[in-house]
């Protein structure tokens, strides 16, 4: 897995690069906007681009627009400092796939990069999701485990769908808020935890195998304990 990191802040770049390499990715770093664009255009082999918004010579959004205009479909994660007006909207309109405000916890970045990689792999329209014996029929809107069905609230269904689509990877609280509740906000309390524990009550309570686990300091993960 190759990641291109275009970021002019050396300390941020070092820390992201180090973390990603430790997680098993190969990272190339570039501190200049124009050079970064050239690198991204030269090789289409990058699995993910991590692009800072403010860069010398060419800003991040221009890089993304140029790439998209040239039909380069590599997933892009935009990094930005908090404070500018509807940055997120602009970033996503320019062709970014996800948006992260600095500073962030590394786990947040990693979880988002993994989500982007996953999206890339499974972009085909699936009709069924399966994690161990837990199954979700996207067409019939039905969830079953070990032959028995569950009665899920619409939001619980959406939450489970997102977790299943990202099975085996860490999903952070902000990712859930952004993708399941579709609001960008700071919840201050453990409100997401309550929803997760409700969902866990429904899908895990009567089973020996616990599929939905909490990853301390990061978020949650739904996975088949048999795998890995």
């Amino acid at each position: 897995m190759r990641i291109l990191l275009i970021e002019d802040d050396i300390s941020v770049a070092d820390y992201i690069g180090k973390g990603l390499r430790q997680s098993g990715y190969s990272v190339e770093h570039c501190a200049d906007g124009e050079q970064g664009l050239a690198l991204a255009q030269k090789s289409e082999e990058y699995d993910v681009l991590v692009v800072d918004r403010m860069l010398p010579n060419m800003d991040g959004l221009t890089i993304i627009q140029t790439l998209r205009a040239a039909d380069n479909k590599s997933p892009v994660l935009i990094l930005s400092a908090l404070g500018e007006v509807d940055d997120r909207v602009k970033g996503l309109k320019a062709g970014g796939d996800d948006y992260l405000v600095k500073p962030f916890a590394f786990v947040e970045l990693l979880a988002r990069i993994e989500a982007l990689l996953r999206r890339q792999k499974s972009s085909t329209s699936e009709t069924k999701l399966k994690v161990a014996d837990l199954e979700m029929d996207l067409l019939a809107h039905k969830v079953t485990r070990g032959g028995g069905g569950f009665n899920l609230q619409p939001r619980e269904y959406k939450l489970l769908e997102y977790l299943m689509k990202h099975a085996g990877q860490v999903v952070t609280r902000t990712m859930l808020l952004e993708n399941v509740w579709e609001y960008h906000f700071d919840p201050q309390t453990n409100v997401i935890d309550v929803h997760i524990s409700r969902l866990r009550q429904k899908i895990d309570k009567d089973f020996d195998q616990q599929l939905l686990s909490t990853v301390r300091g990061a978020g949650y993960m739904l996975r088949d304990p048999e795998i890995q």
């Binding site: 300390s11 941020v12 820390y15 973390g19 400092a81 908090l82 404070g83 500018e84 007006v85 509807d86 909207v89 600095k102 500073p103 962030f104 916890a105 590394f106 786990v107 939001r155 509740w181 609001y183 960008h184 906000f185 700071d186 919840p187 201050q188 309390t189 409100v191 309550v194 929803h195 409700r198 301390r216 300091g217």
Partner: protein, 458 residues
């Protein structure tokens, strides 16, 4: 309404007092003129009468009674041209000569002057009531002479002058009042406009300025100065914001690094250490979240997010917030009731409104004891939408109600009981202001009632 405003305005009252003051002083001046004039008039009159008496006495001394009678006769012949009247009587007050018939009943002044009035037939046979002033003198041989002069014309003039004075005074007052009202009206209008702009500036957008192009004179100068002052305030606030933003921003980066290093340490540590690192990570997360909140409040207060406002239905956002927090309430056995009107559209930022409602409902659930209740209501009154969040917790004292919107302010009693950074309500207040709304806290007996109002859009 506008009339009352004008009448109550300082300008109008000042001008009115000025008109009254001016009228009174003009009246005093005119009265002085009148007094001086009448004093001179009577002095001259008295002089003329005295001269006449001297002349008559001389005639009597030189030519005796016969000469005097002739002399008076000649004078009377001249008629109207001669404004003296005479009467010469003997000791028994019988008329001997003159054009007055009887010795009149007169008023005698201390200085020997007499005053009386009589009806006189004038040259065109019309009766006229005339006032006279004159003297009587002994001229010898028991004869007494009365020489008087009428001053009726003067009375007439005086009456006319007084009438004119009173009328012009009235006109002055009436015109002055109307003029004052017009001037006050103009001034009230300009000041009103300035005040309205200032209020709107105070309630939110500091970048707004008073429109001074159509103003004149001192009003324009005032508006320009206020604008300059606003520029300065804005600069200072921006400077302050910049500094606090920079602090928050610059501290966040090393803090993030610290947090991440702790996290690395936790991953590599043996299980015993792992537990000791977690509180440190939590602490760092708390600090990071405080800095983020501060920066978010600063961003909201800057007003820049207004650029992204869209028309939204408060009901939909509220339903989402309620849905998010409902399990939290259920876990505490809190009765969570909502009554939302069908729709209420305002212009706003979806994420920020969600954040504001989330903070309010989060607080309500947090501060309400088990088995308590939390109510959320959405409605509209006139041109405004309102959202109320009420709880049955311990509430906020009237003293604290004004302070809880300040950054980092926490009610003393809750400090130890509930974790928090004291920024939640500051953010709510900033978001409400950004949306041109008002937030009020009141006692729900027991508990807290928060009411937020916004202008509706179609």
């Amino acid at each position: 309404m506008i009339i009352n405003k004008i009448l109550a305005s300082y300008t109008f009252r000042f001008l009115w007092a000025y008109v009254i003051g001016l009228s009174v002083s003009v009246l005093i001046v005119l009265m002085l003129v009148y007094a001086t004039y009448s004093y001179d008039y009577f002095k001259q009159l008295q002089g003329a009468v005295a001269d006449e008496i001297v002349a008559l006495e001389e005639v009597y001394e030189n030519t005796g009674f016969g000469g005097l009678e002739r002399f008076i006769g000649e004078k009377i012949e001249k008629g109207e041209l001669n404004r003296f009247y005479y009467l010469v009587v003997d000791q028994e007050k019988r008329k001997l000569a003159g054009n007055l018939d009887d010795w009149p009943i007169y008023r005698r002044y201390d200085d020997g002057w007499l005053e009386f009035h009589l009806e006189i037939l004038s040259w065109n046979d019309q009766k006229r009531e005339l006032r006279f002033i004159g003297r009587s003198e002994e001229i010898g041989d028991g004869y007494r002479m009365l020489v008087v002069h009428h001053h009726g014309e003067f009375r007439g003039y005086a009456e006319a002058i007084r009438g004119a004075l009173v009328r012009s005074m009235m006109v002055t007052i009436v015109l002055g009042t109307i003029g004052g009202a017009i001037v006050a009206g103009l001034s009230v209008r300009q000041i009103d406009r300035t005040n309205k702009t200032l209020q709107s500036i105070m309630s939110g957008d500091l970048s707004d300025r008073i429109e001074s192009a159509s103003m004149r004179g001192e009003h324009k100068e005032l508006a320009l100065n206020i604008n300059l002052m606003l520029d300065r305030i804005q600069q200072l606030m921006e400077g302050l914001r910049q500094v606090s933003d920079n602090i928050a921003h610059d501290l966040r980066t090393p803090l993030t690094r610290l947090r991440n290093q702790l996290s690395d340490m936790q991953d590599q540590a043996v299980s015993d250490r792992e537990d000791r690192v977690q509180p440190l990570i939590d602490e760092a997360d708390g600090l990071l979240s405080t800095f983020s909140s501060l920066l978010r409040i600063a961003q909201v207060e800057s007003g820049s997010r207004r650029a992204g406002f869209t028309r939204l239905d408060l009901r939909i956002i509220l339903l989402d917030v309620i849905e998010l927090y409902e399990p939290l309430a259920t876990d505490k056995a809190i009765k969570f009731v909502s009554s939302l009107q069908a729709e209420a559209f305002i212009n706003g930022d979806r994420d920020l409104l969600f954040q504001a409602f989330a903070n309010l409902i989060d607080n309500a659930v947090k501060y309400t004891p088990e088995n308590g209740c939390v109510n959320v209501e959405l409605g509209s009154v006139g041109e405004e939408a309102f959202v109320t969040v009420t709880d049955s917790g311990r509430g906020i004292s009237a003293v604290d109600q004004g302070k809880v919107f300040e950054r980092f302010y926490r009610v003393e009693a809750s400090r130890s009981l509930h974790p928090g950074n004291g920024l939640g309500l500051s953010l709510v207040s900033a978001v409400v202001k950004l949306h041109y709304g008002h937030i009020t806290l009141s006692d729900n007996q027991p508990g807290l009632r928060v009411e937020v109002r916004w202008p509706l859009v179609d």
